[in-house]
Structures are given as C-alpha cells and as structure tokens.
Subunit: 418 residues, 2 copies
C-alpha cells in the first residue's frame, strides 16, 4: 500500500468522457490498495475563457478578483470528478484550496504555497475516501482565493505530495514522459526512464514544457519522487502491471539513477532577442548601470555575455531578452545612454537558445567543446554561449534550430538505446 | 443616503457588455450617495451548462459536489462585476458565500439561509466600498458550499437586505415590474405600482415568475421593501429621477398601499394533472391513507377537493399533481389500493390552474361567484375549485387558458387604469 498523489491536466479532463477515463486511473490505484489524492486542472479551454472575460471587463484588473474568477475552473472539474468516482463506487469528495486549507502568500495571481494542513485528508484516507483537489489555488492571508499562476496544478500536486509525505506524485499528461529532446523536432528522441531533479529543473527552465519549473523546484527541495506518465493509456490495460513496467519518466534523486549519462537531454527555447552594446566603458558598476534599469522595467534578461576588452578601456556587452520585451529593453537602454556610455546598440530578434543538459558535465571535461565542433562542421554560427555546472546554452539563428538539435542529439549518443 | 441591495439575474449579466450596464446602474446609486450591495446570478446559460455536466457525470449525484460545481457560476460573475466597477472608478470587491459568511442549513441543493454576518460588509460601506455578492450560495455546517436552489439569488438579495437592515431591495430583471397578469396572454395587462407581500406571495406561488416564492416569503417575514424593476433601462437616463418616478413595482406592507383593489392580479400555472378516486370510503384517516404514501414518494400534491358524500358512506376525492408526477402518483395509489379502498381511479393531464388574487377578498363577499358566472357565460367548465383568504384557484382545460385569463382580467376591471 502506498500513498499516491495523482495530477491530471486540462486536456485529460476536457470533457466528461475524459473525466471518466481519469476516474478509471484513480480506481485502478484504489483497487490496488493505495491511498489516493487527485489534483485536477480546469477543463481545457475553460481557463482561457475566464481570462478572456476578465480582460474584456478591464485590461488591467484586480488580481484578487482575477483569482476568484479563474479558480472557478478547477472547482468545477474537482466536483465533476468526485461525482464520477462516486458513480463508479469509489468513495470520494472534492476539496477547494480554502477548505483544506492550502495557505499561500499574498501574491495574488502568482502566489506561493506557504503551508498545507493535510490532517483531515489523511484522516479521510484511513476511512477509504479519495480526495479530489482543485489545483492551482489556495487561500491567501486576506481570506481570499489566491492562484499559483499558470501550470499551478503541478505545483499543487507536488506540494501536496510533500505535505502528505506521499510515496509518489504521478503527473498524468498528454505525453508519456520526459524525452531526450522534443520528438516533433527529432523523431529519434527517446523517453528517459529516469532523470534527476537537477536535470529536470534545467530541462523545464530551458524550454521543455512537460512540467512547470516551480513544481520541479519544489519536488527537488522536498525530495518528492515524481512520475510523468500519459493519461491517455487505457487505465484497465495497465491494471495489473508492476510499477516498473509503466511507461513514464521518474524524476528522482541522482543517487537513484544507476546508469548515468554525461548528457541527458537537449532543450530549446524560441523567440529570443539579442541586444549588443558596443564599446561600453570597461569599469566597475557598468553591469549595474545596464541591468538595473532593465530589471526595474520588468524586462526578463536571460543570457549575459561580456567580451574581454583588448585594452582594458572598452568592451562589448551582449544579452538576450524575450522577443516580446525587445522594444521595451531598447527604449530603457536608450533612456540610460548617458550613464552607460555605449557607442552603438545592435539587436536581432527571433533567435533560438539550444541547451545541453547533463549531470555528467560536472565530472567530464570537454563536453561543450564537442558541441562547438559538431555545430561548426555543419556551418552553424554560435552567437553567444552561457554555461553552468550541469548545462550549457547556445544562441543561434532560428533557421538552424532543427539541425542544431538533431546534431547535438546524435553527437551525445542520445538516439541510441542505453 | 440609503443602504440598498441590488440584485441582477442571469440575463442581465449574460456578457461583459451587459455587466457594464449593470455596473452603470450600481454607479448611479453610488453617485447618488447610497451604500450599495449587489447580488448577482450566473451569466445566462452557465448554470445550465454546469448542471448538464453534473448530470452527464452521473444522473444521480452527491448534492454537495453539485453545489460546489454550480456555485462557480455566480463566483465568476461577482469577480467580473467587481473588475468592471473598479474600471469605472467605483471601489468594489467580490464576496463569496463562505467569505461573508452566509450560513445555511445542511440541505445541499435547496439550502435555507440561517444567518448572515453583515458586520464586515457594513464596515466596508463606511469606507465607500461596494460589496458584490455571489448569489445563490452560502456555506453549510459541513464547511462546504451549499446552494439555495434555482432562483436562489433573489433569496440571497432579500436575506441580505434583511440582515443589513437595508432601506430597499431592488430586484432588477428582464421585465419592468409585476403585472396584473401575464402580458403575453392579455396585452391589456397593467403594471402594478405597488403590491402587498401577501398578494405577491400568492402570485409567485400560483405561477407568476417574476420572483421566487421563497424570496417573497422572506421579504414578508422581515418586512423588506422590494422593488422589481428592469435592468434594461438605460442607467443614465434615470439618473436624476426621484424614486417615485422609476418604473417598477414596489412589494410592501398592505398599509403602504393607499388605493386598494379587491382583485390585484390573475395568475396561471400550466401542466397540471387531475386524479379522481371514485367511491372512496368516507371514514376518518382516508386522507392520510391517500396522501401519506404520495408525500413519501415526493409527489407534489396541490389542489385537493373532497365531495360531500350523499349517504355518508362513500365519497369522491380529486386532487392535482404536476404532469411530470402523474405516472408516479398513479403507481403509488394503485400500490395502496387495498388500504384506500377506492372503486375507480380516473386521471387527466395537461390542465391549467387559473388563480384570482386580492387582499380585498377578505372584506368583499361574492368575489368568486362573479368569476364562476363570467366563465360559465363563455362556456368554460370548472373542474375543481380551491379557495383561501386572499385567492381562489380554478382548474380548467388548457384550451381555455387565454379566454379564462382575459375574461377574469376584464371581469375584475384590471384592464382599466386605477
């Protein structure tokens, strides 16, 4: 017997037929003797409908009202799943954030979970009741509904698994796991049996859309074993199979991964813009002069590359921002031209950041150099490079995206079975 | 300055444009110096969508889950109206049943309001804030959302007006008041300037659909002056008019009505079925033998007419039920044939109950006799009659509905201006 938290996203609960399919997944786990909490998102499309109404009412609006409006989507799904489970003979009830309660901070619209009181849920598990929890929401210090931001249902599930000390958190989604890279770009991409929290965090941060960054962060901090799997498998067909045979990807501690690879996956993110400031004075405080005003203007700066100046007096500063922020960023820089003192500003939009991720980089030298060689051989120009302990990212022109991803995927042997 | 509770139904908040119109009504009252609480229903069609999903999930379902699902509709409207008011510069916030709280009993799906804590709302009024309240919902003793049943937003508004000791409760709807009868049947029907609580209660009970019966009951018990008016009037055009000139109907104490009429209105209800039990033993306990089992089966019995027996041994018993309950009622009666001991059961569906309502009947004799004569002159056969202090109801064949309503409307002079 295990205590499991299952999470189903919007496409998995898009209509009553799919909700029935979800209920069968839940029933399978209950029949196997497990205690089950299920976290659900809003039915696909519903959150967008609610957000559109709020925007139509007023483009700029009170985040507390927005939260109350959009949280209703998950409220509906939770009730519908509870009814469906009951009709299948599974004892179940729905729980809203304020009923558990899931307490958050006061950052309405992007709140963080501060505490979850799991006592009543655990009491109900002992009585054989399944808890169906509306994801994405909690209650703020002001006694009002607070939402966790887009994708917040993943965070609800992981946080709940941590609070309940669950044995596993199963994230059911429309793909059957985490892949070495995006299968739409590289058909040879393979599903990973296991991936470490750290690698998954980089994958999610760098563009892989399977899981929200914050939920991975939380799983890592609390050591929640998180299993990404497909909700579209027929629940009955996997009824009697042992867990080891389920298709999916287990996100776990590095120590639980026996066969470690140097490189685990290739991620990419489109719609990056590059800004280069030419011949900036090479003096202390220059970074603050550039990036301080950008931060104040809420421009999300990603890669930053500073060239070494030849004579110690002038240097070039290159950084990237999302395409959507480019105009604002240029305006901010130009307004601060005097303080910064650059000679020329150049920019380019529609670039792509390709990232190579792997825990093995910590112990293997020359991993990045292999990539530079492989891309050079195919004539792909690298415009900027950033590195960290377990990944490096390369900025390239978008027309090379597919070629670069496939080249790197093959270079690190990811298309071969382990 | 007055404290007003305004209530807007589903068609008045069907989309963002109409919600803006509602906001203008609210702003007009705020600008006039009033303290305002607004109660809103779900956007037209939304409750039906939610109910359909719940039914699709399972035809028979947990009322607590149903409540949580359908209450989301009002939650959305309340947030949207709050946002819209804020965009117009009116300070406002939304309130859900559990936040105020509006406490109900545990009858999920048809709960009754037990108490409303208005302290925080009144505190906010003093700060100039409008309270936008999700109608139709409260919180039950089990700490779960409980809904008041269809039309429950009217009840929320009146109960809130009572709890806040409001000066008036304005029910904005898609008609501009209460009419002497249904204008679709009798074009000469006139809007009533005022109607007493007791008469309105009979009108609502007997088929007039302007207000829910329970909300009128509550208005009567607590003496809440309730003004029925149209939400489709252009808010600005009535900005500066005094209250007396607003089109609408004030539901109030009988003493506040100067010009009392003998008959106030004609109501009708379709889809009634008649069941007659012939030659039932005329003995004590016979009514209990018939109506006890029907009540247990949740059959809603309306009119009951017992003929006087000729020789004191056998009598006929006639009663009406909604068409939808007829088959069930006959089944129950036949199952209890031995205990009841009737000789013959006869039934007829698709009948109409026409009712004449007026406080003046208490002091005027012969009011009903006038009706019998008028209908007889037009060849309309009366199948059953029931009377109470301030109304009488006649059961007739449905093909005479329009003729009967128009005849009675003219007979009591309702088509003449007072």
């Amino acid at each position: 017997m295990a205590l499991l938290v299952l999470k189903f996203g919007g496409t998995s609960v898009a209509d009553i037929d799919r909700i029935r399919n979800v209920a069968r997944h839940v029933k399978r786990e209950v029949d196997a003797g497990n205690e089950v909490a299920v976290v659900v998102s809003a039915m696909a499309g519903k959150t967008n409908e609610l957000v559109a109404w709020a925007r139509e009412a007023s483009p700029i609006h009170d985040a507390r009202e927005y939260d109350s409006i959009v949280a209703s989507g998950e409220q509906v799904t939770a009730g519908l799943l509870a009814i469906t489970l009951q009709a299948m003979g599974v004892e179940a009830r729905s729980w809203l954030g304020w009923q558990i309660p899931i307490r958050t901070d006061s950052a309405h619209g992007a709140a963080r979970i501060e505490s979850i009181d799991g006592d009543e849920l655990i009491h109900r598990f002992c009585l054989g009741q399944v808890a169906v929890i509306a994801g994405f929401q909690g209650i703020g210090p002001d006694n009002r509904i607070a939402t966790l931001g887009r994708g917040g249902s993943d965070t609800t599930a992981v946080a709940l698994a941590a609070a309940l000390n669950a044995d596993r958190c199963d994230i059911y989604t429309d793909v059957d796991g985490v892949y070495t890279t995006d299968p739409r770009i590289e058909p040879k991409a393979r599903r990973l049996e296991r991936i470490s929290f750290e690698e998954m965090l980089e994958m999610a941060s760098l563009g892989a859309k399977v899981l929200q960054v914050r939920s991975v962060e939380m799983a890592m901090v609390h050591g929640v074993r998180t299993f990404v799997r497909s909700s579209f498998d027929v629940p009955e067909s996997i009824n009697s199979n042992p867990e080891a045979l389920q298709p999916g990807t287990l996100i776990c501690d590095e120590e639980d991964i026996v066969e470690k690879e140097v490189v685990t996956g290739i991620a990419y993110a489109r719609d990056e813009s590059q800004i280069s400031l030419r011949r900036v004075p090479d003096r202390p405080g220059i970074s603050a002069a550039i990036f301080g005003p950008l931060a104040e203007a809420n421009v999300n700066v990603d890669m930053i590359v500073q060239s070494v100046s030849e004579d110690g007096s002038r240097t070039d500063m290159t950084f990237t921002v999302p395409d959507g922020d480019l105009d604002k960023a240029i305006k901010v820089i130009e307004e601060n031209r005097e303080q910064i003192g650059y000679e020329l500003i150049q920019s380019d939009r529609g670039l792509v950041k390709v990232s190579v991720i792997g825990m093995g980089m910590r112990s293997h030298a020359g991993v990045a150099a292999t990539a530079f060689r492989a891309l050079a051989e195919r004539g792909i120009n690298i415009r900027a490079i950033t590195t960290s302990e377990i990944k490096f990212s390369l900025l390239i022109s978008s027309e090379y995206t597919e070629l670069a991803v496939r080249t790197l995927h093959a270079t690190y042997g990811l298309d071969k079975a382990f």
